[in-house]
């Protein structure tokens, strides 16, 4: 059976190559620290499962210290200039799009097909990780197609990967670090504490006030946690289940669906969400640019959803 470890090994090799290329870059402003950073990140993917939890914890701290204290800088990577790009694009034309489309299409085909393929009753691909494994397969196929199409110098794919990874920089580890923060908050009982505060201090005597506290609370708590999935169990346990469903007899399907969507509005507004961090890094945007483009929509949709919840969760006119 192909397990998720295979995808992690490929990722580990990529980050390892970036570490080596950084070490080989004599013009790099932070040559050794940057190389160490990518080397440690690579180690996390290659041997993370044998390091043990404490070993991984130490590895994370080292990554945070290097990345957080300015140890990571972009190296000097060679790429093509505008004129050369225009010349290659003119020669290859729309065929350049093919490799880009291979990735999502393989991911799609894989996530549909791999679940069905079994040998002697056992799945060929680890069922819970089909998405990640299909993505990895798609990338490998796309890279082969791109190399055949473009016929680049041998090191070009890795040098280009380093150029882009350098532009992402320290924020490459932020999404995983935020996931770790969520786990630590859970361990420390932050969710229980917030649930207790909300349950005690917010006015719940009217239906509208309770719906508003639940919906806006979901958005706010999601902004703090960076993740609606972490906020949802807390708000359901504090308000959704006991008060909206229990006391006021609301429709649990409406309250569940719309509560989660209020959380998504929070995700659109928080610097803690990987959905906002990754594109900011990938597109070379200043901090907050993606969030600013999203905030007006998020606020309007949030208010609309809270209103809809008041109307639809307690309807008496339909089943």
């Amino acid at each position: 059976m192909i397990r998720v470890g295979a995808a992690y090994a490929v990722a580990g090799l990529l980050f390892g190559a970036i570490a080596l290329l950084s070490a080989a870059d004599r013009g790099h402003p932070r040559r050794w620290l940057s190389s160490t950073f990518w080397g440690l990140f690579s180690a996390s993917f290659l041997i993370g499962d044998v390091l043990g939890d404490l070993g991984n914890g130490a590895l994370v701290l080292a990554l945070v210290l290097i990345g957080g204290c300015g140890g990571l800088r972009a190296g000097r990577s060679s790429t093509t200039g505008v004129a050369e790009r225009e010349a290659i694009a003119a020669r290859l034309g729309p065929r350049l799009f093919l490799p880009v489309l291979i990735v999502p299409l393989t991911a799609l085909a894989g996530s549909l097909a791999f679940k069905a393929i079994t040998i002697a009753g056992r799945p060929v691909v680890e069922p819970a990780q089909v998405t990640v494994i299909s993505l990895t397969l798609g990338v490998i196929l796309a890279l082969l197609a791109a190399v055949i199409l473009v016929k680049p110098p041998l090191a070009a794919p890795l040098q280009e990967a380093r150029r882009l990874m350098d532009s992402v920089g320290w924020s490459a580890i932020l999404p995983q670090l935020l996931a770790a923060l969520g786990a630590v908050f859970a361990l420390a009982g932050v969710g229980r504490a917030v649930g207790g505060l909300v349950g005690h201090w917010l006015p719940m005597d009217s239906r509208i006030a309770a719906v508003a506290a639940y919906g806006l609370g979901m958005a706010l708590f999601t902004m703090i946690m960076g993740n609606a999935f972490a906020a949802f169990p807390v708000m359901v346990a504090a308000i959704g289940a006991p008060i909206l469903v229990g006391r006021f007899g609301g429709d649990a399907a409406v309250i569940g669906a719309m509560g989660m969507l209020c959380g998504y509005c929070g995700t659109l507004m928080t610097p803690m969400a990987s959905h906002n961090i990754v594109p900011t890094a990938l597109l070379g945007l200043p901090p907050g640019a993606v969030i600013r483009a999203q905030v007006p929509t998020a606020i309007l949709v949030l208010l609309a959803t809270v209103t809809l919840m008041c109307l639809l969760a307690f309807r008496t006119w339909a089943a």
Binding site: A89, L143, P175, F185, L261, P271
Partner: protein, 222 residues
């Protein structure tokens, strides 16, 4: 209750613009220690959760492909293709992507989009190319604004589409959490009640994108 101290650390640190890696780690340490978790257990919890969430970073695997194609003029080509379509504007193009992203996500096809796979190589350069060919020479502010909107559309389309698909994480999580609170719901009904908000989100954001067109052309005239 003391574990709540992690929250102000997070807020103040981010508002004071310290490096987010340091802020997030400090907030985790403060919350854990104040909540009575012993330091080694805390470090182990950090390490375990980081290791368990490696799947998030597998998305970076696409960078060699994108980089190689960019080196060969992918973005040039993306710009050229869209600027030939006369009826398109930045806003209309992004409304089209919003609709496509929402519909495919609602069918469970989340992997058809994404910031690394679609926005950076195709959607953002296409939107920028449209801005240039419709509105004349660019400047840094317009380029960044258009790019930020390309990323925002991908998020909004994905978020307000995926909740309509029954077998995706969010509907299953909603069902599981309600179950823990001794409430049984039919996942189909949960997915159904995500539709009103999805429609509102599409209308609101599509209108904003059309307003973006007007803002961009007004700025181009001035």
């Amino acid at each position: 209750m003391m574990s709540l101290l992690g929250v102000p650390v997070l807020l103040i640190g981010l508002l004071a613009r310290f490096n987010p890696l340091l802020v997030v780690t400090a907030a985790g340490l403060v919350a854990g220690l104040a909540g009575g978790v012993d330091p080694l257990t805390l470090l182990a919890a950090f390490g375990k959760a980081f290791n368990d969430s490696r799947y998030i970073s597998v998305a970076f695997l696409i960078l060699p492909v994108i980089g190689l194609l960019e080196r060969s003029g992918l973005q040039v080509q993306a710009r050229a293709v869209v600027s030939r379509l006369r009826a398109l504007t930045v806003g209309r193009f992004l409304v089209g992507y919003l609709a496509a992203r929402q519909v495919t996500a609602s069918l469970g096809l989340l992997s058809l989009g994404g910031h690394a796979a679609m926005v950076r190589p195709l959607i953002a350069p296409m939107a920028e190319g449209l801005a240039d060919s419709r509105l004349g020479p660019t400047n840094a502010a317009r380029r960044l604004l258009v790019r930020a909107h390309a990323a925002a559309v991908d998020n909004i389309g994905a978020f307000f589409g995926e909740d309509i698909f029954v077998a995706l994480g969010s509907v299953l999580l909603i069902q599981a959490v309600l179950q823990q609170n001794r409430i049984t719901v039919d996942p189909l009904r949960v997915a159904f009640w995500a539709i009103p908000t999805a429609l509102v989100a599409f209308v609101v954001h599509a209108l904003r994108l059309l307003v973006l067109d007007r803002t961009l052309s007004r700025r181009a005239v001035n």
